[in-house]
């Protein structure tokens, strides 16, 4: 500890920020692993498609309900990289737009479930043993008592079947995992001496939670978020496979696969291509998550 501090001070004197140095080191480690880099590239590509999708899609009008009978059921070619579907729409264009909506749903789910789950977990962990903590953990258990996919489907259909409610449905099933994880980490942190000292010196609870506890668990949460992104996209695509979530004619990857099954085996690209895209996206997020996990968990040690 002492030497580390000395080093940090020395580094500071030389005009180098130790935080930036640590980050550089992590990046070096991360970039040495080709699989992690592959994951990062895939994820960046997905983000790129999500932002610029509408401008780079070769046939933007094919996202909607258009019929070009003359061009229907064409195999993959230069003009149509992934072939065309029964209405003559370009499958590649539809896959890009479907990728975009997968990512948006994934981000929406995380945007709802992570803050909710983490805040509840912080409260429950800090007040362990008290009524409020028991209540929160009980609620968590309640939402974990049925399969997440079923819960998400029930919530999604109960209101309006669509984009937003698919995300809300998945989020309802997802937040308990963050609460449980935060709870476990906070309860083990509570016994650390520096937390006890901070408490004794009369620092407000909110400040302890936000500036002492939260920074210590952020890296674990970020890693989990990256790994979860893959699972959430899988769940969302499973839901759209049975018609829950993004509604036609808007394309979604799961729905494309399920629509294509009727045209197997002659027109295999209708199912195989979008299914491969789902696998690629999930693979990307998982590789990235594992890479982050390696770097961050070593850093903690």
């Amino acid at each position: 500890m002492m030497t580390k501090d000395l080093k940090a001070t020395a580094a500071m004197e030389q005009g180098v920020n130790p935080r930036v140095e640590a980050l550089k080191k992590s990046w070096y480690k991360f970039s040495r692993n080709p699989l992690s880099m592959l994951g990062l590239i895939v994820v960046l590509l997905v983000i790129f498609i999500a932002i610029f999708g509408p401008y780079i899609v070769p046939y933007p009008e094919d996202a909607g309900l258009v019929t070009k009978i003359a061009e229907s059921f064409q195999g993959p070619s230069g003009a149509h990289l992934a072939g065309t579907d029964e209405y003559g729409r370009d499958v590649f264009s539809r896959m890009l737009i479907g990728t975009r909506s997968s990512l948006v749903i994934g981000l929406l789910v995380l945007a709802i479930s992570v803050p909710l789950g983490v805040i509840l977990g912080l409260i429950a962990g800090y007040y362990k043993g008290k009524l409020i903590s028991r209540l929160i953990m009980w609620l968590t258990e309640l939402f974990m008592a049925i399969p997440p996919l079923i819960l998400a489907m029930v919530v999604c259909t109960m209101f309006t079947n669509g984009y937003l409610f698919a995300a809300i449905g998945i989020a309802v099933a997802w937040w308990p995992w963050y609460t449980r994880m935060t709870y476990n980490m906070v309860t083990s942190l509570s016994n650390e001496l520096y937390i006890v000292y901070t408490e004794l010196s009369g620092v407000k609870v909110l400040k302890i939670l936000l500036s002492e506890m939260l920074p210590n668990i952020t890296s674990s949460i970020v890693t989990k978020m990256s790994l979860d992104m893959g699972s959430i996209i899988l769940t969302a695509s499973s839901m759209s496979f049975v018609g829950l979530g993004v509604q036609p004619p808007e394309p979604s990857l799961g729905a494309m696969v399920s629509d294509g099954i009727a045209y197997l085996p002659e027109f295999w690209w209708l199912t195989v291509m979008p299914a491969a895209v789902v696998v690629l996206i999930v693979l990307g997020f998982n590789l990235l998550g594992d890479g982050l996990n390696d770097v961050l968990s070593v850093e903690e040690k």
Binding site: M137, E141, L142, A145, I146, P147, P148, L149, I150, L151, M153, V154, V155, T157, M158, F159, G230, L234, S237, S238, F241, V242, G243, L244, G254, V257, S258, G260, I261, L264, P265, W268, T271, V272, A275, A276, V278, V279, V282, L283, N286
Partner: protein, 340 residues
């Protein structure tokens, strides 16, 4: 031992309370559904009086706690889950018809996953860092990232359409007088009709494979990790020095402790199979409970949804308790923790 039993009983009670609350929450959820499910199910031409009568029959005109209490009384005393507005039968009958079929599917998957997951994981761990291990790890990683429906479609394309080995979906008709348990394969065996069992079996191969492969991949990863960790443990080195035979070393000292994380994950995987089965049932037109659940949910059938969530809750709870018992059995150090 007594402590363990006590803990399990405590957990059981805890679960029952949880399930009761869950059903109440679902009831209140259903009340929030926009639109009147009774009216929707009876069509727009139905006279107002008939709808009102139906509503009162189904206790939809009472307050939420009254409706819930009435439902609970029916479930506990007569196994009556209320009438489905979608199949127009008692939900209990629907459950009896569809649930065994899904349970049979999941049962085959569960056995297959356990054997294959442990086998592949063990091979991978024993030949650690060899080309075989790397290949297995690569395929496992891919398997975890692949949705069940993609595996289903791929298997369908290869084995049904291209090679023509297995049927493309659907199940053979089981004569009514065969029905004993409701499980299609088992009923054929009980009656002694092996030809029909063969057909049922053939139809189930692809659904079972599509549903299991992802979980096998995951199980193999976890089991490999657990074995590798234990191989390097001091007590293994000690046992080796003490002259324990290689077979005994692997089977008793290495396998047994490695099963603890594997078993925990196994329980989660089996429980999730039940939830994920519906996609496979849709692809292969398998007449199971998951497909029924999907219909019920999509048709916003109130008593159907309550029953479906309740049944899934029970299955989840049972699997969890079984896993706890299994883990306690394998590792005497672990005390089942019910404090939370």
């Amino acid at each position: 031992m007594r402590k363990t039993i006590l803990a399990i009983v405590k957990k059981l009670l805890h679960t029952i309370v949880l399930l009761l609350v869950l059903s109440f929450v679902v009831f209140s959820f259903i009340r929030l559904i926009p639109g009147d499910p009774v009216r929707i199910s009876m069509g727009p031409m139905t006279p107002e009086e008939t709808i009102a009568q139906k509503r009162s029959e189904l206790y939809f005109d009472r307050s939420l706690p009254v409706q819930w209490a009435h439902w609970l009384k029916g479930v506990v005393t007569e196994g009556d889950f209320g009438e489905s507005l979608f199949t127009h039968r008692n939900v209990a009958e629907d459950i009896k018809q569809y649930l065994p079929k899904s349970l049979e599917l999941v049962f085959y998957c569960a056995i297959f996953i356990l054997i294959m997951g442990v086998l592949v994981g063990t091979i991978s761990a024993i030949f650690k860092n060899s080309w075989l291990d790397n290949l297995i790890r690569f395929i496992s990683y891919l398997g975890v990232c692949t949705p069940a429906y993609a595996i289903g479609v791929l298997l369908l394309l290869v084995f049904s359409y291209t090679l023509g080995i297995f049927p493309i979906g659907g199940m053979p008709n089981i004569p009514d007088n065969y029905v004993r348990t409701g499980m299609m394969g088992l009923d054929c065996l009980l009656v002694g009709d092996f030809a029909l069992f063969g057909q049922v079996f053939k139809c189930m191969v692809l659904p079972v494979l599509s549903l299991s492969l992802g979980s096998i991949a995951y199980m193999a990863r976890i089991h490999r990790g657990a074995m590798v960790e234990n191989i390097n443990a001091d007590y293994i080195a000690f046992a080796q020095v003490a002259g324990v035979s290689q077979g005994k070393l692997v089977m008793k000292h290495l396998m047994k402790p490695s099963f603890i994380p594997t078993l925990t994950i196994y329980g989660l995987q089996v429980a999730s199979l039940i939830g994920n089965a519906f996609i496979i049932e849709v692809i292969f037109r398998y007449p199971g409970f998951s497909q029924y659940s999907l219909n019920v949910i999509q048709n916003k059938d109130p008593y159907g949804i309550v029953a479906v969530t309740f049944v899934f809750g029970i299955i989840f709870a049972v699997v969890n308790i079984l896993v706890d018992i299994g883990v306690a059995f394998l590792d005497p150090r672990i005390r089942i923790n019910t404090s939370e």
